[in-house]
Point group: C3
Chain length 439, copies 3
Amino acid sequence: MNTKYLIPVSAAALIALPSMALAQDEAALHTSYILTTLLFLVGGFLVFWMAAGFAMLEAGLVRSKNVAMQLTKNIALFSIAAIMYWLVGFGIMYPAEWLIEGWLGPFFAITSLEPVGLALSDDFTGTSLDYASVGSDFFFQLMFCATTASIVSGTLAERIKLWPFLIFVVVLTGFIYPIEASWQWGGGWLSEAGFSDFAGSTLVHAAGGFAALAGAIVLGPRLGKYKDGRVNPMPGSNLALATLGTFILWLGWFGFNGGSQLAMGTIGDVADVSRIFANTNMAAAAGAVAALILTQVVYGKVDLTMVLNGALAGLVSITAEPLAPSLFGALLTGAVGGVIVVFTVPILDKLKIDDVVGAIPVHLIAGVWGTLAVAFYTGNWGAQIMGIAAIGIFVFVTSLIVWFILNAVVGIRVGEEEEINGLDVAELGMEAYPEFSKG
Amino acid sequence: MNTKYLIPVSAAALIALPSMALAQDEAALHTSYILTTLLFLVGGFLVFWMAAGFAMLEAGLVRSKNVAMQLTKNIALFSIAAIMYWLVGFGIMYPAEWLIEGWLGPFFAITSLEPVGLALSDDFTGTSLDYASVGSDFFFQLMFCATTASIVSGTLAERIKLWPFLIFVVVLTGFIYPIEASWQWGGGWLSEAGFSDFAGSTLVHAAGGFAALAGAIVLGPRLGKYKDGRVNPMPGSNLALATLGTFILWLGWFGFNGGSQLAMGTIGDVADVSRIFANTNMAAAAGAVAALILTQVVYGKVDLTMVLNGALAGLVSITAEPLAPSLFGALLTGAVGGVIVVFTVPILDKLKIDDVVGAIPVHLIAGVWGTLAVAFYTGNWGAQIMGIAAIGIFVFVTSLIVWFILNAVVGIRVGEEEEINGLDVAELGMEAYPEFSKG
Amino acid sequence: MNTKYLIPVSAAALIALPSMALAQDEAALHTSYILTTLLFLVGGFLVFWMAAGFAMLEAGLVRSKNVAMQLTKNIALFSIAAIMYWLVGFGIMYPAEWLIEGWLGPFFAITSLEPVGLALSDDFTGTSLDYASVGSDFFFQLMFCATTASIVSGTLAERIKLWPFLIFVVVLTGFIYPIEASWQWGGGWLSEAGFSDFAGSTLVHAAGGFAALAGAIVLGPRLGKYKDGRVNPMPGSNLALATLGTFILWLGWFGFNGGSQLAMGTIGDVADVSRIFANTNMAAAAGAVAALILTQVVYGKVDLTMVLNGALAGLVSITAEPLAPSLFGALLTGAVGGVIVVFTVPILDKLKIDDVVGAIPVHLIAGVWGTLAVAFYTGNWGAQIMGIAAIGIFVFVTSLIVWFILNAVVGIRVGEEEEINGLDVAELGMEAYPEFSKG
């Protein structure tokens, strides 16, 4: 307990009025600091929970022979992100000193020549932010980095080798994501240019989508997915898990967008966080309803996986600007996200880009839509387009390079037989549902 | 950041002592406002999570051929509730001006003749509540509306068509629930009459149960459920999911009951929220243990689904008054809920009312019990009975009318063949577990 | 609402400056009280959620014929813990007056000769703590008691009878855990002796592990597990559930460790809570990555269940001291936990101790490691060793006695046929997945 609060000050107060006033001012600042830190902690654990959401969504949408592998990838990628973001990512993303001003943060702590994470550890005892604890900020930001990687694992499921995928995660979470995120959230050149992306429709979601797209191109589609000019549906093995994953993601998104207010110490801020919660929920609902109605109209039958992805696309869409819109604006933004899912999933299939869980429509395309839509509020279409283009090109090209190198050096795709038998038996030697016979 | 807190006031304070005192008073109010808003946000996301709980519980308790449909209904009903409650529900439930004083709120904003939701949107920039942000209040209350609809979907599972069900949800969440809830929580005639229902044992749970009961009567039981005078058990396909759903609901209930304190800005309020958490947990535990022991004694074997429903009935029972009871009182209240489940599930079957997941015993009957039990603390049995009767009759009759109309116009029940083959294949053209062969 | 905050004090302030200063001091204390109570509530619901995590983890790691029973045990044990901890446990653990000073708290309220829980109920109207509400403290502490019991159910799965297990839970949660926990957290002899266990690596996790170990010895291994000198693997039926359970536990652990700061009213405290969140996450990630790499190196294939248990062992390891280490220290502590899992699971099998889910390596052995590691920060190896030994011996011996008595009086193991057919059909008469044919 902070003893300052516990010492009776009544006598002293009579003598030293100025310090009393100061104390009151200070007390308000203390409370504000605590509340904003609390926002980061609660927001952070909600975004952590999204890692479970991605794991369940993806495990539900792959075939049962690949479920254990998909689960392994998800828990491993989160764990690797946690370590890499600490080791170098956080330091790159929020540079004390830039290596290249506005473009590239330091990989090593300048004073010690250690990876920034090692030098950083002890800073957490002090408080180098004046509005919240550094520990809570690190905790919160880390979860966004991990989310970016979670997006990739779904697209590349059912055919990518475990270890090359994890090596990509090392590069993505340690370097690619932190670098592009530093351009905006680290105070880099994009933030100077007037680009606006509140919680990361582009910085997180489209970025993850671009990394996934690059991987999907290098990796190629699953065996038999596109055959004789037809698209072979390969239905997910467990839609209950996929639905659970969607609900988890929806819940976590309140932390993702709400926490990105980065302040909860004033009435204005907490009212903003509230609007963000309400808008985020509305956009998800609208995305789901849009996909519900549209699949009924277009295909004659409602498609549950489209509804799930519609909700997620609504969430991605509102992420770039969850505060400015009215609830009706949030509804429109999210509904467009749902429409995007229904119409772009088939387009990807026409391009023979095999995205197992639909992550590219949901995260990349709806992310671009959401980021563009910010210009309805800011008017600055140029900055939005430039930001999307810059991040898209950077993440896509660097990812493509990494995937090419990995493919050339170790090969990123499992053998045909392994793919047919499933990655679980081939790579892990275990099954997710060993007792249930396959139909 | 609110700059008021950041400007040093030490000099000014010496001159203007009264304003200083005012500032201090104001600061306390600010903190209280932020904390109560935070209660709504955290409570709200916990109650949101209950939507996932209902989805998992119901998906686990239906047969595998209807799981995808049950999941679809659950995510769709939540999404529709989110939109309808915004569009008209919130305005009906908390009327600025009543259409019929104390009985019926406005469907349209009087000034603009738009649905209240459209007019409402921009109000969220201001703050028309003085103790918390309107956005957080809307977010929190919306979740209760959605919960009411979630209750219905379980009872009517495995035989109701998707779209007629969703149209009912439109009416329930946009009109029926907001109207009856306005009587009490909107400051209407029931609240004037001394009725007491803290977090909605009747307003939410029994109301949902009455809507479900009306639907079950119109819809009829599943094919083969009652045959040759015998009750055919149709066991749920996935008790792990059902258990997960129960745990999710239990967790969400802390927000449901705790958030209904509607204040967290004082020591007294936060201590009350704490008591509510402890009592809510105790009632759930007691309901589960009562069902555990009772099924062992009555049937000779413990029945897991009864234990799950016992916990839920305990939660419903304590919802009308989670604050006044001691922990021992909460134990008794919840245990009676568990007993109710064990004894009323068979009664419903005798009446050939086919309630797939047991929602009527859990939400309607235990809800009535919990609401009656409030009179042990208030002494006002008359008001409790009148409130239950008024809400019960209103919701049951209006629901019955809607179900009849829907049945007459489009038919609410799938064809025999569709029911036998399962709604997943018949209505959605997809399966929840396509790879697992059925025994 | 507390009216004190609402009365304008500007006039009064001019007259009574000292009281103004006092009021300000008081206001800060009020805010601190509310925030710490909030920490207990949020921490408490997160630890509650761990009960769902254990249920899913264990349901996923047993064979499908025992899943319904495992779920039943988990929801029942939590419910029993909630009642027993109230009835006697809380009073024993935080004794107003000791029966034996520093060693044994009172089972009955001295004044009324009622079980302490009954007498306690009404205290919750007052506030006998000065920094947080008693209700929130009770709610939070109860969850730790339940966690201890959750650990036991996993080890003894697939062969123990339901009711004898639940009777053990009664004794464990009502008496064994509260007594040993009172030694440290109730201000007993261990806390005097300089022992340090921040959130319960030993008090909760190793204690649960010792109780499980005693049970496993009395109960014996599953039929066919150790045959002809070979270890027969009996793979879990649903690794998606097991992974979900792990993610739930990881999430809940932020409340487990973060809430154990027991204070959030100052900048220092909330910054500490933040460090604890970051360290807890890092230790889990490091445990997972350690097991990931190690199983690849040692077995040539990654083992998902080892990775899951590695993350959990990382969490257990950091629990004794989540605040003092740097993030790098947390990484090392957690990684050792992951290594422990990989190497001690086979050792238990050599000793023919059949631990179905690996709870003994994860909770007991990693718990001991984590508690020992505290001495790197305190320097007091003696106190750590003494604490582990004292709690280990006490819990192990008392548990062993209870298991022996239960075995002698009612028998704790199901018959051979029941075990072969599965506990679900034999003891419950229902199946978790009745429609999926077994391979």
